[in-house]
Symmetry: C2
Subunit: 223 residues, 2 copies
């Protein structure tokens, strides 16, 4: 946090080796129980990605290759503040419409940051992007989603982390996305509202009013 | 069914008027209960879309404009066979990973057909596309998802329709997508497996083996 570096960048700097990243809708509990899953393995060297694909693929674990390690790593981190937002919506008693809207508009936001970082738009609509976002945001087991629910009930970020009892990655990641949005001059309405809840004590109910009250716009070009 | 025409085409032919289409993650039950929702209103005449936006927008219903009526209408129909596939996965006892994978890869398929029809890719990753797919596929109230669950339990399409007691749109739509895939020469692995369950009595468990056993590939270019 502060460097805005991805894990693979830090590992490559420290070790001098090239690094691949694997990400997707991959709850370990379900893979261990032989439920069919799919994932993306990304490496700038496509031959390495193909070797990892061959090593990992099975009848129950479908592995796709990608050369977009930037997009794959970024999505794996940036999905967690979305899960916080969806958890807040659940905590406020909202339903499928609100959740689906938050996920969809958040993906538009991630795509904006990802493009600035040099990621490929196709990754954001792929398994490591929308796939992992769906698995995380609709799972009862997601601790980030649960943390959002507790925030909506009025608990502070510190109380939430104590209650969840595990790292809530979405909290530091929301701070990192706030820094990135400022650095790139990009508007990220959903993730910025998550940041304001965490850093400024804004209430989730007030976030709803902010998000719904913005100027009417066009779907593709607008916010 | 058979003409492969969209409703707006038929209405325009019969009435001679221009038509707009509204679609998104919009369960009516939730809108009626004042839960925040968002939608897309599409018309080839953007001025008409903007007038409809102004007429419909409220603090709890956010309306985005679009000129891509083809994509909006196509997604509204094509999401239902995806919900059948997700329901089958649920019926087989699979979890979040399998569901998220089916949704993500199905969107790739829809994008292929939609591009042939002249739809805009952005619509497929927007509220009328991925947004509506998420709301439909993760809702316990979706009758198409429920129908898929019953198919996985071994019921026939006729038994499923009788038990659901309402129109299961995904069934005729799977036949229409099968015709479109043949007409355009496009490979649609997920929706084609849904068709085979409905039309040829293939078992959902066998579909899993077909889908997971295909050749390893690249995420963006491949199947």
């Amino acid at each position: 946090l502060g460097t805005l570096k991805r894990p693979s960048e830090i590992i490559a700097e420290e070790t001098g080796t090239s690094v691949a990243a694997l990400s997707g809708p991959n709850h370990a509990e379900e893979i261990a129980r032989d439920m069919p899953s799919a994932t993306v393995v990304a490496c700038t060297d496509e031959a390495v990605a193909r070797r990892l694909q061959a090593a990992l693929i099975s009848d129950l674990f479908r592995v796709y290759t990608s050369t977009d390690i930037v997009g794959v790593e970024f999505c794996g981190a940036a999905k967690n503040p979305i899960a916080l937002a969806v958890g807040m919506s659940d905590g406020l008693g909202f339903g499928d419409n609100t959740r689906a809207t938050l996920i969809t508009r958040s993906l538009v936001e991630l795509g904006r940051v990802g493009a600035q970082l040099g990621g490929n738009t196709a990754t954001f609509v792929g398994l490591a992007g929308i796939g992992d976002v769906i698995a995380t945001c609709t799972s009862r087991h997601s601790r980030n989603r649960l943390a959002g629910e507790l925030l909506a009930k009025g608990e502070s970020p510190a109380q939430v982390e104590a209650k969840v009892g595990q790292v809530v990655e979405g909290i530091p990641t929301a701070y990192a996305l706030h820094d990135m949005a400022a650095a790139f001059g990009i508007d990220l309405p959903v993730t910025e509202n998550v940041y304001q809840v965490l850093a400024e004590g804004k209430s989730p109910a007030e976030c709803v009013r902010s998000l719904m009250g913005r100027e009417p716009t066009h779907e593709v070009s607008g916010d």
